[in-house]
């Protein structure tokens, strides 16, 4: 690493106090939001505000204390950002529960989400405590990759029913679970491990065509394999969003590992080709594009395709305007799945453009912090993993919010930390744990030389062995 030498003299501060201060602000958003929902919808502060606020505070403080203990140099901004989004999401989901209740549909999404958040924080803590050095993960590259593929294939087994036409769910007992959410984290780890080992081969061989270095034919194997997997997800699971997400993720990591824009060109053309072919041949993809281009023509259709969801979201966002209607003053439950995929429409309607931009800034800052971790990380594996996790976040936010606001065709993905959905929430907490672990390693002062050399010896021995 060329950058690590320049960083040698600089020691990052821990800034745990700053993190605690930001966490208090995040809690104010979460608990304040919950209270505001009660006041706005029911005219009184919810009776369980103390219990709810206490529980939220306990979770966040627990996460903070664990960071102080096991990752003291970790980035101080990530956890407050995540806590803000998660708290806001809970408040809005609670609002939507109340909205459904007014329509005579009893739901308890907010309570379930709080349970999932608890599980997410537990896994977050577990990941930080168990995984003291992220490089350990590199040892299990292929195992993790295989696990990811298995998880992705799982919903295709015949005894799992498709939900809303997409085969991305598995049902165990009363719980539904989206294995793809976990698989995406595992894929990042597996890609990072694979690329660290093969980056030289992928980077150096190839020929030059029109100012672009194109890779060798035989090195195209993995990218073609990933392309096929993405297409498979699209065709067999009918999940446009995940397909786009996985392939985009792989391309970005490949580009970062090899530093060759040629991969982007090749991958981009493969993606465009695949997307075009899918659009030509798959009815549901065509419908999505038509609805994206002319949603108002399909509004209140008697038969499919329907565009009610996207049109109601458009109406809701417009109705919200700059500062929103205020909790309880809008009608977010007109949009189907307002608690999950379309939670941004609910936020835009009742809290306005102001909140939408604030949420986007939170996401932007998470991506920025993650990429900063990638920049200062001292090892290639950490860099790749951080970049991968950052990109997966950025692409997911872009795909889902872009879909809800009709910037791009709608694809089903959850909004990280905001949407109701256990698998997604838990997986995202683990992503943050991994990022914090990498950043702790990156920001930690270089240990005394003997230990450091021992460690790098280990690594070089491994590389030579291959």
């Amino acid at each position: 690493m060329t950058t690590s030498s320049t960083l040698m003299g600089f020691v990052h501060r821990r800034r745990r106090g700053a993190e605690l201060f930001l966490l208090v602000l995040a809690l104010a958003v979460g608990v304040g939001g919950y209270a505001a929902v009660g006041v706005g919808v029911e005219g009184k502060v919810p009776a369980d505000i103390i219990g709810y606020g206490g529980w939220l505070a306990a979770l966040i403080v627990a996460a903070h204390i664990v960071i102080r203990l096991v990752a003291p140099y970790a980035d101080p901004v990530l956890l407050p950002l995540v806590a803000t989004l998660n708290g806001l999401g809970l408040a809005v989901i609670h609002r939507i529960d109340l909205g459904y209740a007014a329509r005579g549909r009893e739901t308890s999404f907010a309570q379930q989400q709080l349970v999932w958040m608890t599980l997410g924080v537990v896994l977050f803590v577990a990941a930080l405590v168990v995984l003291r050095d992220h490089r350990v993960l590199a040892r299990f590259t292929y195992t993790i990759g295989f696990g990811a593929i298995v998880l992705l294939m799982l919903p295709l087994l015949p005894f799992f029913e498709p939900i809303n036409g997409a085969r991305i769910w598995i049902q165990l007992g009363g719980l539904s679970f989206q294995p793809g959410e976990v698989a995406k984290v595992m894929l990042v780890v597996a890609f990072a491990g694979y690329l660290v080992l093969h980056r030289d081969a992928l980077a150096l061989a190839g020929r030059r065509l029109l100012f672009v270095d194109l890779p060798r034919g035989r090195d195209l194997g993995p990218i073609l394999a990933m392309w096929l997997v993405s297409l498979g997800i699209l065709v067999f699971q009918r999940d446009l969003g995940s397909s786009l997400l996985f392939f985009g993720l792989f391309l970005v990591m490949l580009y970062v590992a090899t530093e060759r824009p040629g991969w982007i060109v090749v991958g981009g053309s493969l993606f465009l080709g695949g997307a075009l072919a899918a659009w030509k041949t798959l009815g549901h993809v065509q419908d999505r594009v038509d609805i994206w281009l002319h949603p108002f023509e399909y509004y209140r259709n008697a038969q499919p395709p329907f565009s009610d969801q996207i049109v109601e979201a458009q109406f809701g966002l417009g109705w919200g305007g700059l500062i929103g209607r205020g909790f309880g003053e809008g009608d977010p439950t007109r949009v189907t799945y307002a608690e999950s995929d379309f939670i941004m429409a609910a936020i835009g309607e009742e809290l306005g453009l102001t909140a939408v931009i604030a949420v986007l800034l939170c996401y932007g800052l998470i991506v920025e912090r993650a990429l900063r971790v990638a920049l200062i990380s001292r090892d290639s594996f950490g860099k790749l993993m951080a970049t991968g996790l950052a990109s997966i976040f950025a692409v997911q936010v872009f795909v889902v919010i872009g879909g809800v606001t009709r910037l791009i065709p709608l694809t089903g993905l959850t909004t990280p930390f905001l949407s109701y959905g256990g698998s997604s929430l838990v997986a995202n907490w683990v992503i943050i744990a991994l990022l914090l672990r990498i950043s702790d390693q990156a920001r930690r002062p270089v240990p005394d030389l003997s230990a450091d050399e021992e460690e790098s010896d280990d690594e070089s021995t491994q590389v030579i062995k291959l």
């Binding site: 530093e259 109705w319 305007g321 453009l353 991506v367 860099k383 950052a390 990109s391 919010i401």
Partner: protein, 486 residues
């Protein structure tokens, strides 16, 4: 690896900027267009749930919003539903009629005149509330008209319109059968649908405001227009001028009974009679000949000066145009002279004819809304507006004299008020369907000089009553005029 990571950062920045620009476009620039989409239920629901302004007669509301316990927060209430339903219309989710529809921007508070007020509401986080609309209606005249028409019995179909001649203010507007807008404004939408379907199926068309939406043959009341045209032509200049008379008149280009006009036994002389007698006895033979004398072109011109073939009512939706045919042959022209053939008029139109004669020949635009009040009670008063000059003042005076004689000594005597000079004209119009009873009409104004009120009464159906303009319509007109004059 840091160079590509920086490139990726820039790429991510571009993604987020695209999202922010798009969200801003959607929620700021496009928001207005989205709100204007008629299918946008949020906007409709908000307007349905907001505190709507009242419709007032004097200081008394005839439509108002009262707080309700359900999710819509306010319930529209009509305290005098049957009497005022043709005016107020009704207000239900996604639909409104009558003044509720035409004055919606004021009642909902979205009127541009309330812009500053709404801005203050927005900043102070108050909910936007609507302005009120005060009507020109005179409560006593409205009650007299409603009770008079209702007194004709069950199943009566008809309308009464009263105008203030000098301004065009509508003092009373009644239409029967009527409906209860409270039933249609209910928040129980299923019941509303049922009620609405029943009202649509009702053969009496209770949802129709007959005062402005029903046009039928005006019959003999149209003789005022024919007389105006004849006097304007200059050939006759006083009530004592001699006009053609006769017990029967064979329409030109016809032969046999079907082309013969008679006077149903009223005394109309043999050859020439005075204008006064022709009007008093409502001589069809006279007015058929006068129309032919004046000519189709002048008749059309005169009718249009009174408001036929035109839209003039801005305060209520769905005004039907009264019709004077533009293409007639001589026998048809003769029939139009006494308000038959294709001549059709609304009660409002005939009230305007009477009002403009009372107003020295000047036709005023009829209006129902006298004042618009913002939620802060800043009022804006409507100004009377001149539509046209139908006849010269001298001609108006002669017409008035003819009509006064008709009340004093002729067919319109049931409208006579002691010690007040009343001008009036009856009408009994044939439907053109053999065996069906005719329509009854009555128009009048009082006092004859410097008059305060002009009335038109129209009765389409009155089961069990013998239809005759003077006998049925006269007393109603009299009651309405008395309510104003006293």
């Amino acid at each position: 690896m840091n160079r590509p990571i920086r490139t990726v950062s820039l790429f991510c920045l571009a993604l987020f900027l695209a999202l922010m620009v798009n969200a801003t476009y959607l929620q700021f620039w496009r928001a207005g267009a989205l709100d204007d989409d008629p299918r946008n239920q949020r906007v409709q629901q908000a307007s349905y749930s907001s505190e709507r302004g009242a419709i007032l007669v004097g200081r008394t509301p005839v439509a108002e919003s009262v707080p309700s316990e359900d999710r819509y927060e306010f319930q529209r209430r009509y305290p005098a539903p049957l009497m005022y339903a043709p005016l107020t219309g009704y207000f239900t989710f996604g639909n409104a009629t009558g003044l509720e529809s035409s004055q919606n921007s004021v009642l909902s508070g979205e009127d541009p005149r309330f812009f500053v007020r709404n801005l203050v509401d927005l900043v102070s986080n108050e909910q936007q509330s609507g302005g009120s609309v005060e009507l020109t209606i005179d409560a006593k005249a409205q009650r007299a008209a409603y009770e008079g028409l209702s007194a004709l019995g069950d199943g009566v179909e008809g309308s009464v319109v009263a105008l203030e001649p000098s301004t065009g203010k509508v003092l009373a507007m009644v239409s029967l059968p009527t409906f209860d807008p409270n039933d249609l404004a209910s928040h129980d939408f299923g019941a509303v649908d049922d009620t609405y379907a029943d009202l649509l199926d009702d053969p009496g068309d209770p949802l129709l405001n007959r005062a402005v939406q029903t046009r039928i043959a005006p019959g003999s009341t149209f003789k005022l227009v024919t007389a105006a045209a004849a006097l304007e032509s200059g050939k006759y200049d006083s009530a004592d001028s001699l006009v053609p008379g006769g017990a029967t008149f064979q329409l030109p280009q016809t032969s046999g009974d079907s082309g013969v006009v008679d006077n149903e036994g009223r005394a109309c002389g043999t050859d020439e009679i005075t204008f006064r007698q022709a009007m008093e006895q409502s001589c069809n033979t006279t007015f058929a000949q006068l129309a032919i004398e004046v000519g189709a072109e002048k008749m059309l011109e005169q009718a249009e000066k009174f408001g036929f073939n035109a839209d003039y009512l801005e305060d209520l939706p769905g005004q039907a145009r009264s019709v004077y045919p533009s293409q007639v042959n001589p026998p048809q022209l003769g029939q139009t002279g006494f308000g038959q053939f294709e001549v059709q008029a609304t009660p409002l139109q005939m009230a305007m004819v009477a009002a403009s004669i009372a107003n020295d020949g000047v036709v005023m635009r009829p209006y129902v809304v006298s004042e618009v009040q913002s939620p802060d009670y800043d009022a804006e008063t409507a100004d009377p507006e001149e539509l046209s000059e139908a006849v010269d003042p001298q001609v108006a005076d002669v017409l008035t004299e003819l009509m006064v004689s008709t009340v004093d000594d002729g067919t319109a005597s049931p409208a006579a008020i002691p010690n007040v000079a009343v001008a009036g004209k009856t009408g009994t119009a044939q439907r053109g369907v053999p065996g069906e009873p005719p329509y009854a009409w009555f128009v009048s104004f009082a006092p004859a000089s410097d008059s305060q009120v002009a009335v038109a009464v129209m009765i389409e159906e009155a089961p069990g009553q013998e239809i005759a303009g003077g006998r049925l319509g006269g007393p109603i007109a009299k009651a309405v005029m008395e309510a104003i004059i006293s």
